[in-house]
Amino acid sequence: MSFEAFLIVAAILFCIGLFGALARRNVLVVLMSIELMFNAVNVTLVAMAKYLAPAALQDDISSVLTGQVFAVFIVTVAAAEIALGLGIVFAMYRTNESVDLTEATQLRH
């Protein structure tokens, strides 16, 4: 498998996530789409860690691990973010009786 294949997959994933985040009205779907974009980035990071580390440093484990550690970091942050996001969705549902994003315009002006 080549490095480009990883990047292409990641790009496709990112675009699907972006489309979902921008086009869907349901907040839950939007949150899921954001999750997709995170993971597209994760894929890229891991692929880069594997392919782009300089040959001289291949033996140095820390240089190879950098990208992977970042990916784990993002997974953690994403989990926290989802927890927070779901809390907002609940609050939104209580006030709006719906989870439709287009109706959540109270903060305008």
């Binding site: 921008l22 315009t105 305008r108 002006h109």
Partner: protein, 677 residues
């Protein structure tokens, strides 16, 4: 010989009395305001004594030279302050302090009980100090400072009774009109400033007055710094300032209105000293003027025209002070014409005698006002019986003004007429002839209006004074009347009469004392010779203009002209009984034209100010302000108001819309970065 410090004291004493009256007496001791009058009179008395001493020192030692003090350095030009003591200064010092002293004493009686007594004396001291500073100045900038200060104090004193709208308006008018002339003077000074480097190259200081004289001399060693057309324009600029101050046509309109001020003010400022400052200024720069034939011609013609022009208006005025005001303008015209013809010394001689007899005439008018409460001669008459001393004094000064031999006015006027007949060699013949004819015509008119004034005021029956005037005009405040309301016919108090007697002696005797035509203990032609020598010495020349020999036939001609005017007035006015219309009104439209002052005021106020300034200039500026300036401001406001609501439309509250914007924005940035590489 007098020291420099004492000459400075002549100027500083009135200034000190001004400061004392204005800063100490008025704020703290206004109840004892009489103190300010006494302090002023004391200061002026001392200054007068020092002035006499200065004059004596100048006579004995000729020129007194004092080193000027350096004041400022602007670029290459050094501005100094100093004293210029020559015969002209010495004579002016005596005239100014002398007349001022007498007028201040008179004011003790005239202004008694005025609630602003102290303010009056502080202004009068300020004026006298400024006038003395003007006379003493050795530097044109210094002179200009005092020139303006004199204008300010004149403004303050004309508007002294500022609660009367007419006085406030007259003060404003005087200030604005003289300012128009002062622009010319200022431009002349700026021209000198521009030439400062050329002056410095010739070893001269562009602002030092004797250096300016030297610069105008064509025979100067280094060649004239000033010359040709530039010299003419410089002289005309100075003359513009002089014309404004001295009320020469067309800037004469302020002087008659200035009569709104207290009468002693009119006597001191608008008859004897300040208005003569214009004549003094031209005389001061006479060595510059005389090298420009064109400038001399303008001065002579303007002076001669003013002499006749003002005299004609004086013929028909009903207000006693206005008759005198026009007479003053006319006499100043004589002095200017004399200067224009190169008669430097006779002009100053006439200035001196005029200061005496015209100040006395005004004080007489004040005295009459004291008794009748009005200035309108139609409500006077018959006063010679109740005010014999005033009558005799006014009659003497009036005849002196007319030029009846042997009173002072005769000698000075005769000198001018004689010089005008001989003419000036630098001017065209027709200018000499026109000037002489105008001045001679002026003599007839002067005689007529003076006698008319005296008859209307002092002869015939008393016509009721201010009370009748109020009744007939049905108004509450008498026009032009001071706050000496009420008629109480009696001679004025001694404190007013005494200064008038002293001036009366001067008005009678000054002619022989200053300029005897024959040797009588005092050298023949003393004052003219003294002035001419002073001018010659300043320029390093021997003798400057020969003194004019007395001529019997010229005396006959001028006396004949004067007597013709006197007789005409006697015939017309003495026969008149009761209070019918003025006989001159039979002249119909001509009388109206004169009574309306040739419509010059109408021209200035209605046409130039209202139509010209208000409508055209102010109207245009108003339109520009409303439409252009306000339009731009409004447009900017409108733009931001509307751009706000337009941009507000993007603020939908839709999270996804914002996110779309961010996503495409980032995309655009990335694309741009890639394309830029």
């Amino acid at each position: 010989m007098i020291t420099e410090a004492l000459i400075w004291a002549i100027f500083l004493l009135p200034l000190g009395s001004f400061a004392f009256s204005a800063l100490v007496v008025r704020p703290f001791f206004n109840r004892y305001s009489l103190v300010s009058g006494i302090v002023t009179i004391g200061a002026l008395g001392t200054a007068f004594a020092f002035s006499i001493w200065t004059l004596r020192s100048v006579i004995v030692h000729h020129d007194l030279n004092f080193e000027p003090i350096e004041w400022l350095e602007v670029g290459g030009a050094t501005i100094e302050m100093g004293l210029l003591i020559d015969p002209l200064t010495a004579i002016m010092l005596v005239v100014v302090t002398g007349v001022s002293l007498l007028v201040q004493s008179y004011s003790l009686g005239y202004m008694e009980g005025d609630k602003s007594f102290c303010r009056y004396y502080s202004y009068m001291s300020l004026f006298t100090a400024a006038m003395l500073g003007l006379v003493l100045a050795s530097n044109i900038i210094q002179l200009y400072v005092f020139w303006e200060l004199v204008g300010v104090s004149s403004y303050l004193l004309i508007g002294f009774w500022h609660e009367r709208p007419a006085a406030a308006a007259a003060a404003k008018k005087a200030f604005i009109i003289t300012r128009i002339g002062d622009v010319g003077f200022l431009i002349a000074i700026l021209y000198l400033f521009a030439k400062a480097d050329e002056f410095a190259a010739a070893g001269l200081n562009a602002f030092h007055i004797p250096d300016i004289w030297q610069a105008a001399q064509p025979e100067a060693a280094l060649g004239a710094v000033l010359g040709g057309t530039a010299l003419t324009w410089l002289a005309l600029g100075i003359f513009a300032g002089a014309a404004g101050k001295s009320g020469q046509f067309p800037l004469h309109a302020w002087l008659p209105d200035a009569m709104e001020g207290p009468t002693p003010v009119s006597a001191l400022i608008h008859a004897a000293t300040m208005v003569a400052a214009g004549v003094f200024l031209v005389a001061r720069f006479f060595p510059v003027f005389e090298h420009s034939a064109d400038a001399m011609m303008v001065v002579a013609l303007v002076g001669a025209f003013t002499a006749v022009f003002a005299a004609t208006m004086g013929l028909v005025m009903n207000d006693i002070k206005r008759v005198m005001a026009y007479s003053t303008i006319s006499q100043l015209g004589y002095m200017m014409a004399a200067l224009g013809l190169g008669l430097y010394a006779p002009a100053i001689f006439h200035l001196v005698t005029h200061a005496a007899f015209k100040a006395l005439l005004f004080l007489g008018a004040g005295s009459v006002n004291h008794a009748t409460g009005t200035f309108d001669m139609r409500y006077m008459g018959g006063l010679r019986r109740v005010m014999p001393v005033t009558y005799v004094l006014v009659l003497m000064s009036g005849l002196s003004l007319v030029g009846i031999i042997p009173l002072a006015g005769f000698w000075s006027k005769d000198e001018i007429l004689l010089g005008a007949w001989d003419g000036s060699s630098v001017l065209d013949t027709w200018v000499n002839r026109v000037t002489f004819s105008a001045l001679l015509a002026g003599v007839i008119m002067t005689a007529f209006y003076t006698i008319r004034m005296i008859i209307l005021t002092f002869h015939g029956e008393f016509r009721g004074g201010v009370e009748t005037e109020l009744m007939e005009k049905a108004q509450t405040v008498p026009a032009g009347a001071a706050d000496h309301g009420g008629v109480h016919l009696h001679e004025s108090p001694l404190v007013m009469v005494l200064p008038m007697v002293v001036l009366g002696i001067a008005a009678v005797a000054l002619g022989y004392l200053a300029n005897p035509q024959w040797d009588m203990g005092i050298p023949k032609h003393w004052i003219t010779g003294f002035l001419a020598d002073g001018l010659g010495a300043a320029l390093g020349l021997e003798g400057h203009g020969e003194a004019l020999e007395f001529s019997w036939w010229m005396a006959l001609v001028s006396t004949g002209a004067a007597l013709a005017g006197v007789l005409l007035a006697l015939v017309i006015y003495l026969r008149r009984k009761g209070k019918g219309a003025d006989p001159l009104e039979h002249a119909g439209p001509l009388h109206t034209l004169l009574a309306q002052k040739y419509y010059v005021d109408t021209l200035y106020e209605d046409v130039i100010v209202r139509k010209g300034f208000f409508k055209v200039i102010a109207g245009t500026l108003d339109w520009i302000d409303r439409n252009l300036v306000d339009g731009i401001v409004d447009l900017i406001g409108w733009f931001f108001r509307n751009i706000g609501s337009a941009i507000g439309k993007f603020q939908t509250g839709q999270v996804q819309a914002y996110a779309t914007g961010i996503a495409f924005g980032i995309l655009a940035i990335i694309l741009a970065l890639l394309l830029a590489q």
